[in-house]
């Protein structure tokens, strides 16, 4: 009778949330539509983290099935298990359960792009040696149909040893329900039923595994024999003796390098399967495809590349303005409202000038940053970012690198931290370090606030052809960053990191229309990370700066403000002068005065100097600090920070923000490494303090020198 006491909730309409019972790895070639499928299956029930000990992003999600739930792990895309770069090795190690602290997946959902089953089936064959329950999601099925490809699913399933194959379209959602129903029983699939596509290798490995003992899996033995995993190869040779292993290799692979034999052997099998299951209708090339093909030609593609870059800068400046005005109005309105409600006390000043002005001056750049990230995400998802490395390879060669360094450098325009991690695709260590040290020069989104502030204040808003002068100056600053980065790479590759010019080989994805949901999730993620930083680091710094600027309070009676005749009647001016005097004798003013001599040759007063110094842990703080410094001095006035900068003066009445000084300040920002997160990432990725220390000293020196030269020479003219 206990049931009668419970409140009955109708089950329909409320999703029953099951607890995940097993972990399934989502694995496939790059650009096979893995992330889109992952988002489709897990919805918003996902988290992003790092694998223990390594910094590859781990996307974890739960897929709710009708009777149970499964955890899904999304891994970086790979072409084979013979991990060539750091990134691939990590994906492989996680799949194989070699990463300590990460559970070996209990099943694999292999994602194969229906328009690229050639490379997809190659990976699938290697994965079969893992002897894990496996299922195939055949994505982009509608794209395949559109280009005249028909795949016989039943025959494909038969050809790959009965592994279930589910055709899906992540765009229309077609096939997802069937896939989910299939996933329900994934762990029950009999792994022994999967036939080997290369029986001699699999059988030899199986026999050796029995002989070697428990810590060997079949895949370990295979990779040791193929010499694609040097550590395991060494271990095998040690346990069995060099002679025996050499004999085995000769018997299995002949005289050619084992990985070459593997490629020949497995792709031969793939070709046979494709002949059996796939039909390609005579290709009728559609108008859209023709246009895309034309834009891939060298000259149109290169011109398009620069046109896209210009468009991005234009958009960042023009589209964001209305939203920025709204945020600005809201934050200053809120500050005034607090002061009017609470009166002028230390607390109200703290809230209005410290917290709201500080955080508000950073949040105001959220629209610009989102627009920038939107472009980068869309470019990445259309496959265009990869194509730029093809276009730019020649240029990169002149500085001793390859086109593979282009993607990390381009994503550096958003943030150097993920871009330094993205250098893991670069196989050679010297090339990787040169790219890591060049990446922080690229104009990241945290530089945007200070650029935007100074450009809006000191560059006239007037048209230049179809562009606008402000957009053009911003473009020039990006070029300055690129030159700094390329120059650094050239310098390093011809001195400390001298080595041959790296090879360049890269699979180029074809043009795809990005998935709205995937773009939205990525964009949301970026915005969240930015706000989290604005809400933590910047918040703390803003409060610290407010405290230093507000205390110690001076006694108004003791300090007589000199009143000259010209503004004797002007009450607000008296307040301003009082506030300025307060600022000068505050702790911040005293610190600023102490460091002022260092930056005086650059034309900076103590306020600019203290803002810059405060920005060394995180450069976006600078605008917040300037906001605080200038807000605390001008309660009577109601104007934007840029207006306040324009009227800032030296004690002798000269303007501080002259053109040479502003240009120097911009150059300092373009080249200086003011980001603790970047330094920490360089340390983690290079495994030594040598490189972050070098990067910091080097970039600070050239930033300072650049600003010094521009200011000194500019002031003479």
């Amino acid at each position: 009778m206990t049931e009668s006491t419970e409140v009955k909730i109708p089950v329909s309409g409320i999703g029953i949330r099951h607890k995940a019972r097993a972990s399934i790895a989502l694995i496939g070639n790059p650009n096979a539509g893995k992330s889109t499928l992952f988002n489709r299956l897990t919805g918003l029930r996902q988290t992003t983290g790092n694998f223990p000990g390594v910094t590859v992003e781990k996307h974890l999600g739960t897929v709710q099935l009708s009777n149970s739930a499964l955890n899904l792990v999304d891994l970086p895309g790979i072409y084979s298990l013979d991990g060539n770069s750091v990134d691939e090795r990590i994906a492989v190690d996680v799949t194989l359960g070699r990463v300590p602290g990460t559970e070996r997946p209990s099943g694999l959902l292999v994602v194969i792009d229906a328009t690229h089953i050639y490379q997809g089936l190659y990976l699938l064959q290697q994965l079969q040696e893992l002897q894990l329950p496996t299922m195939v999601a055949l994505t982009m099925i509608d794209a395949a149909t559109a280009s005249g490809i028909t795949i016989d699913i039943a025959k494909l399933r038969e050809a790959i040893g009965g592994i279930p194959v589910y055709p899906v379209s992540s765009i229309s959602g077609h096939g997802l329900d069937e896939l989910k129903t299939g996933l329900e029983s994934i762990t029950e699939i009999d792994t022994q039923a999967i036939p080997a596509s290369w029986p001699e290798l699999s059988e030899t490995a199986e026999q050796l595994k029995q002989q070697l003992g428990h810590d060997w899996q079949r895949i370990d033995v295979i990779q040791a024999l193929l010499q694609t995993h040097p550590d395991l190869a060494g271990k095998l040779e040690q346990q069995l003796g060099d002679e025996t292993v050499a004999d085995l290799r000769r018997r299995l692979f002949g005289e050619a390098p084992p990985p070459a034999v593997e490629a020949r052997r497995r792709y031969q099998w793939v070709k046979n399967v494709i002949t059996d299951v796939q039909e390609q209708a005579p290709l009728y090339v559609k108008m859209g495809a023709k246009i895309v093909r034309w834009t891939n030609r060298p000259w149109p593609a290169t011109l398009l590349f620069f046109a896209v870059l210009l468009l991005v800068f234009q958009a960042v400046f023009t589209w964001a303005t209305p939203m920025m005005d709204a945020i600005d109005g809201a934050s200053s309105g809120l500050g005034h409202w607090i002061v009017s409600q609470m009166g002028e006390t230390a607390l109200s000043s703290f809230l209005a000038d410290g917290v709201i002005a500080g955080v508000g001056s950073v949040v105001i750049f959220l629209p610009q940053i989102l627009i920038l990230f939107l472009f980068i995400i869309v470019l990445e998802d259309t496959g265009y970012l990869a194509r730029t490395s093809f276009l730019m390879d020649r240029v990169m060669r002149t500085v001793g690198l390859s086109g593979q360094s282009v993607i990390p450098m381009l994503s550096s325009f958003a943030c150097a931290v993920p871009s330094i991690m993205a250098t893991r695709v670069i196989p050679d260590r010297r090339d990787r370090i040169a790219t890591i040290l060049a990446a922080p020069f690229m104009t990241c989104s945290a530089r945007l606030p200070i650029y935007a502030l100074l450009i809006a204040a000191f560059v006239p808003d007037e048209p230049v052809g179809w562009m606008n002068l402000q957009g053009l100056v911003l473009f020039a600053l990006y070029i300055l960053g690129i030159l700094g980065g390329l120059g650094t790479a050239l310098l390093l590759k011809s001195s400390a990191l001298k080595g041959p010019i790296p090879n360049f080989m890269l699979a180029l994805p074809e043009f795809r229309i990005p998935n709205f949901q995937t773009v939205a999730i990525k964009l949301f993620d970026r915005g969240r990370i930015f706000l989290k930083r604005a809400g933590s680091v910047i918040f703390v710094v803003a409060i610290l700066v407010w405290t230093l600027a507000y205390f110690p309070r001076m006694d108004p009676a003791e300090h007589v403000v000199p009143i000259t005749e010209t503004h004797a009647a002007d009450q607000s001016n008296i307040q301003n002068l009082q506030a300025a005097a307060q600022m000068e004798q505050s702790w911040l003013g005293r610190i600023g005065r102490t460091i002022e001599p260092v930056f005086k040759p650059l034309g900076w007063d103590w306020r600019v100097s203290s803002a810059v110094v405060a920005g060394f842990p995180a450069r976006e703080v600078v605008v917040a600090v300037m906001g605080t410094i200038y807000a605390v001095g001008s309660e009577a006035e109601d104007q934007r920070l840029s207006e306040k900068l324009k009227s800032a003066k030296w004690p002798d009445g000269r303007l501080i923000f002259t053109l040479p000084m502003v240009l120097g300040l911009l150059i300092f920002y373009a080249w200086c490494l003011q980001c603790a997160a970047t330094l920490a990432t360089i340390k983690r990725e290079t495994n030594t303090w040598k490189w972050p220390v070098f990067a910091w000293l080097y970039m600070t020196t050239i930033g300072y020198s650049g600003a010094f030269i521009v200011y000194q020479v500019g002031s003479l003219l």
Partner: protein, 78 residues
Amino acid sequence: MTLADLAPGDKARLEEINTQDPGVIRLMMLGMVEDITVSMENIAIGGDPLEVGFFGSSVSLRKEQARHFKVSRITTGD
């Protein structure tokens, strides 16, 4: 004739691959093995790198590696 000698639009068959170059093995793992038909899609400004298509995929590589692939031309592009 090697892959490096093809003009944009040409189609050719891969005949023999010199596996002594480590970069070549990497390309083989991406599917560039003997007896497949490839097409020269694009050649970047300056003549290098090349974009080669096969089985619906595109791979870019340098001329230096392309010379290790002996080919026989099937058709010439426009």
